[in-house]
């Protein structure tokens, strides 16, 4: 038989329903309509929202009005209704929105509002309902939420399942005279024995004759300094990160190799904790798990083969693309609020498999600081996984392929030359461009040959980069191709940037042999006495500047006083080798 337990400790009274016509049933009915609306507003709107405030005020007003007629509002609860003295005052249309069911499902069978609830406690009460709505079956229930909130003007009765089958302790009849006498006699004898014996066993109780010490309050009373110590201990305790203590315990025990089944259990726990930490934004303990696991993985004899496999799988799982996509998402939406140092610490423990996702993120995130942390992490992982980097050059994802190409250049992975050359024919311009830029960094001749074919790339940026690359590499075989472009019609339609790139590259690779062509473009006239367009002449001047020989300077000297200010200015710059 269940008992009903009132929050105040009284038991619920049964009995016939007595209808009291003096009760303001209609007003109470209206109260619950308003309560339902206020609760909806509470759920939908922020604290200071005027709609929410209006509904709360309405609810307050109704409660205040009722206190002129009732000294408390007691309603019984069933699955879908509230009843005031047996009369329905609330009916829910659906279980999902039902206030009655919210109470009923956790065992509450009667609720009481007391005068005062309309004050500060009203929002706390709505907060309880809000928390109750969000409770998951495996977590707390409404009764715990109500207990925690400790409302003073709201009482409730619930089905007390704990009362089932409980017998209250009752006193016995006491001891017999013989038993009591035995105590006194035995203790008298013990006193005599104590006097005779000086030594005693370590764990035997000492003789308990009262001593003066017992009456010295300083031995048991706390002085103000001790009180303050305890206060500071409380503060320390409440601020403590207990996760770290639990992790220390788990790893202390995980190191004990005498119990393999316990090791398995702990590893299973850790594999659950890791995502749990991350989902709560706790990157520091998550990092600790990775750090400890990696250390254990490297220590001989701690884990057996199975354990090592599990640890490896865990570390791999963290480096998997899905995990990292989630991580990046969490960093973006603020679930994880990590400092760059904390994030970098976590990323340190990722493996080669993490590179594609990290690279992708490091190429695409807009947040500058995050991007820089991700790039640093990528480089850190790449340094330890050069082979993995090479395979990434074959990634389908153009963002990853381009990022890898740049990484190859930054890290001077010279053996990546052939693969980079292959990327120059990639479908995505961004990848071709990255490959060209990497070629510049690598100064790899194996790529330079391929670069020559990129001079007529359909993408302007790639063409410009290729020209610059060839110029930087001073790849002489490209002089012919560049010269052809310089003479051609297409370059005349290109923008000034491209023109400059081509002419400078031509100057750089052709050397003195290029003076003739460039001088003609800078200073020559056509049959009709017409000079080349200003931009071509200016670019040719810069090309001559790249050659820098006496002949090139002689050509430039002629243009130092040119009528065209743009030409004159660039010729001057080139003449003085102002790059």
């Amino acid at each position: 038989m269940n008992e009903f337990e009132r929050s105040s400790g009284d038991s619920m009274e049964g009995g016939d329903v007595l209808w009291d016509d003096a009760l303001p049933v209609e007003d109470v009915r209206q109260l619950f309509v308003t309560l339902a609306k206020a609760f909806r507003a509470y759920q939908l709107y922020d604290d200071n929202n005027p709609v929410r405030r209006r509904f709360l005020e309405g609810l307050r007003t109704e409660l205040q009005r009722l206190w002129t007629e009732m000294d408390r509002i007691v309603v019984t609860v069933d699955e879908d209704h509230f009843y005031l003295d047996g009369r329905e005052v609330y009916r829910s249309e659906s279980r999902a929105d039902s206030l009655a069911f919210l109470f009923f499902k956790d065992g509450v069978r009667e609720i009481t509002f007391l005068p005062g609830v309309e004050g500060d406690e009203l929002e706390r009460f709505l907060g309880v309902l809000q928390r109750a709505r969000k409770l998951v079956p495996e977590g707390d229930d409404l009764l715990t939420v109500l207990w925690e909130e400790d409302l003073r003007f709201f009482e409730y009765q619930y089905v007390d399942l704990m009362a089932e089958g409980v017998t209250l302790p009752e006193p016995g009849a006491g001891n017999s005279s013989a038993e009591l006498q035995a105590v006194l006699e035995a203790e008298d004898e013990a006193d005599e024995a104590d006097e005779a014996e000086s030594g005693e066993a370590d764990e035997a109780p000492p003789p308990q004759t009262v001593k003066q010490d017992d009456f010295n309050p300083t031995l048991y009373a706390l002085d103000p300094r001790e009180m303050e110590t305890l206060r500071s201990e409380v503060r320390k305790e409440l601020a403590r990160d207990t996760r770290s203590d639990v992790l220390s315990a788990l790893f202390d025990r995980l190191e004990e190799h005498h119990d393999r089944s316990r090791q398995t259990e702990i590893l299973r726990i850790l594999s659950t904790l890791l995502p749990n930490f991350l989902s709560r934004g706790a990157i520091v303990p998550a990092t600790r798990v990775l750090e400890e696991l990696r250390t254990l993985e490297r220590r001989d004899g701690v884990l057996d083969e199975r354990g090592l496999t599990e640890v490896g799988a865990m570390l791999d799982a963290v480096s998997a693309r899905d995990t990292l996509d989630e991580l990046i998402k969490a960093l973006y939406d603020g679930t994880i609020k990590a400092t760059p140092t904390q994030l970098a610490g976590f990323l340190t423990y990722l493996r080669g498999a993490a590179l594609p996702a990290l690279l992708h993120a490091s190429e695409t995130v807009e947040h500058k600081e995050l991007r820089s942390v991700l790039r640093a992490a990528v480089q850190g992982i790449a340094r330890k996984n050069r082979a993995a980097v090479l395979t990434l050059l074959e990634e389908d994802d153009p963002v990853v392929a381009a990022g890898t190409a740049r990484l190859v250049g930054d890290m001077q992975i010279t053996e990546a030359g052939p693969a980079l050359a292959g990327l120059l024919a990639h479908d995505a311009a961004s990848v071709r461009l990255a490959a060209v830029e990497a070629a510049i960094s690598l100064k790899a001749s194996t790529v330079a040959g391929a670069l020559e074919h990129t001079l007529d790339d359909p993408d302007r940026d790639v063409r410009v980069a290729a020209a610059k690359a060839l110029g930087t590499l001073k790849y002489r075989p490209a002089a012919r191709a560049l010269g052809g472009i310089a003479k051609g019609k297409d370059i005349r339609g290109a923008d000034i940037g491209e023109k400059v790139a081509v002419f400078e590259a031509y100057g750089a690779v052709a050397g003195d042999e290029g003076v003739r062509l460039l001088d003609g473009l800078l200073n020559g006239k056509s049959l009709f006495g017409k000079r080349e367009p200003t931009e071509v002449r200016a670019a040719a001047a810069l090309g001559l500047g790249r050659i820098g020989t006496a002949d090139a300077k002689e050509s430039l000297r002629k243009a130092l006083d040119d009528d065209d200010a743009v030409v004159r200015s660039n010729a001057n710059r080139a003449f003085r080798r102002e790059d």
Binding site: L114, R152, G174, L180, V183, P205, V234, T242
Partner: protein
């Protein structure tokens, strides 16, 4: 607790005591005209007016070590212990048990009343002396009652029944939960939470009855009663160091589960009536680690119960990190773990257990925990426990200087008199049981000689002689 007035009497009461104490101190230091004194009186008067208006009157009562404002017991913690203690002593010195403030009180009535509290108490009849002097002052709206007239606000029997119910239900819940765990079944954590909530509520409102319940030795198997007792003592210590209700709940939950790891230890070891072999000890010493791991499996917590896990894991660690389990990484047992450690040792030390030595009398256990550094307890927390249990905890079997046998039934709330509790005398000097046990307050002195009416000369362990102290305490 709800009040028709809408006032939060807990908070207002604490404020009132702080204000009374502040005025008392101001008047101790300065003449009545001083600005500080006047300000203190004005603040006090405003506060009292608000309470009296809302409640129709205000009575401050001091019962044991608790203050009550009307029917609300004011919570004692580290933030107010000094205020409460000093003001209680001021009243106690004059034999005053209650101060009733009536509607219509005027500001001018405070200075005479408080000033009189500062005077030395009057001889053998302090209350009567105070009352006679007080009658000559113009104070009309403050009435006083002597200590002897002030009783516990709640009926003792009612308190005891509530404590019995909470205790019995909690033991049942612990039994079900631990049993389910041993069988590998899912534990009903909600019931466990409800039990701990009940214990917290009872300790906060009815501490001495709950302490009495811990003296029940054969109510159920040791494992279950011990879990509940450790929970009760932990919450008592927690309350005294200022933890709030929710923090006490967290503490209590961990304390109830502190030995949960034993559910993975062979029952033959747990129930072994004789001493354990070295190998059996080794297995038993794994229970803190097993407790930590078991709590990871337990469903029903809103969050991973890290703090509770640590209480299970660290409760046998000493403050110098000896004890068990051994530690390799840096560690400092949490405050909650140290509380549970103290509560566990006290209850275990006073109980007859399987594989255990002879139990010690409660006072000897406390003394050992306090004085023997090798035991490795947090001595401040042991002291806190002693302030709650007294030097002779409830349930201690004592021999009085009259050679009568008695059982300690109530702690003396005065910190100076912790060694002079209330006792139930159960036998005469030759061991004949009294037909009705007599309650004696050992802090009472014989008016004729000024010497204590009775004194404890020796304590002993009731279990050693089969004395069921609860027979005398629950009656």
């Amino acid at each position: 607790m709800a009040h028709e007035s809408g006032l939060n009497l807990q908070e207002e009461g604490r404020r009132l005591l702080a204000s009374l104490y502040g005025t008392l101190n101001a008047l101790r230091l300065y003449p009545v005209e001083n600005e500080t004194v006047q300000q203190a009186i004005s603040d006090l008067h405003r506060l009292v007016e608000r309470i009296v208006e809302a409640e129709g009157g205000a009575e401050v009562r001091v019962v044991g070590d608790f203050f009550f404002l009307n029917e609300t017991r004011l919570r004692l913690d580290l933030s107010n212990f000094s205020t409460f203690g000093s003001f209680a002593r001021a009243l106690h010195d004059h034999g005053i048990g209650a101060v009733e403030i009536l509607p219509g009180i005027e500001r001018s009535e405070w200075a005479p009343f408080i000033s009189m509290l500062l005077r030395g108490p009057g001889g053998d009849l302090p209350f009567e002396t105070f009352r006679d002097r007080f009658a000559t002052t113009p104070v009309e709206h403050i009435e006083l009652r002597p200590l002897s007239e002030v009783d516990e606000p709640k009926d003792d029997a009612e308190s005891l029944t509530a404590a019995k119910r909470t205790y019995a239900q909690s033991v049942k819940v612990a039994k079900d939960a631990l049993g389910d765990m041993r069988l590998g079944k899912a534990v009903n954590v909600r019931k466990v939470k409800r039990a701990v909530q009940g214990i917290v509520d009872q300790v906060l409102s009815n501490e001495s009855s709950m302490v009495t319940m811990t003296t029940l030795r054969d109510f159920d198997e040791y494992t279950f009663t011990h879990s509940v007792n450790v929970c009760i003592f932990s919450v008592i210590i927690g309350q005294r160091i200022g933890l709030d209700r929710l923090q006490l709940y967290e503490l209590g939950l961990g304390a109830l589960f502190h030995d949960v790891g034993k559910q993975r230890i062979d029952l033959d070891i747990i129930n072994k009536p004789t001493g354990l072999t070295e190998e059996e000890w080794r297995e038993l010493m794994e229970h803190p680690t097993e407790g930590l791991l078991i709590l990871f499996q337990m469903q029903g917590f809103a969050d991973v119960p890290y703090r509770q896990m640590l209480m299970a894991y660290e409760h046998h660690m000493k403050t110098d990190l000896s004890g068990y389990p051994s530690t390799k990484r840096p560690r400092e047992p949490t405050l909650f773990s140290r509380i549970v450690s103290v509560a566990d040792a006290f209850d275990a030390g006073t109980s007859v257990r399987s594989y255990q030595y002879e139990p010690w009398p409660p006072d000897a256990v406390l003394q050992e925990m306090r004085d023997n550094p090798k035991r490795g307890f947090d001595t401040l927390l042991v002291k806190v426990l002693i302030t709650a249990t007294g030097v002779y905890p409830v349930g201690t079997l004592v021999i009085l200087d009259t050679h009568e046998l008695a059982v300690v039934s109530q702690v003396n709330p005065d910190l100076e008199l912790l060694h002079r509790p209330k006792v139930r005398v159960i036998s005469d000097p030759v061991g004949l049981p009294l037909s009705e046990p007599v309650t004696l307050d050992l802090s009472d002195d014989d008016p004729a000689t000024g010497a204590p009416v009775r004194q404890i000369i020796k304590t002993t362990d009731p279990q050693k002689y089969g004395i069921r102290v609860s027979d005398y305490l629950l009656a």
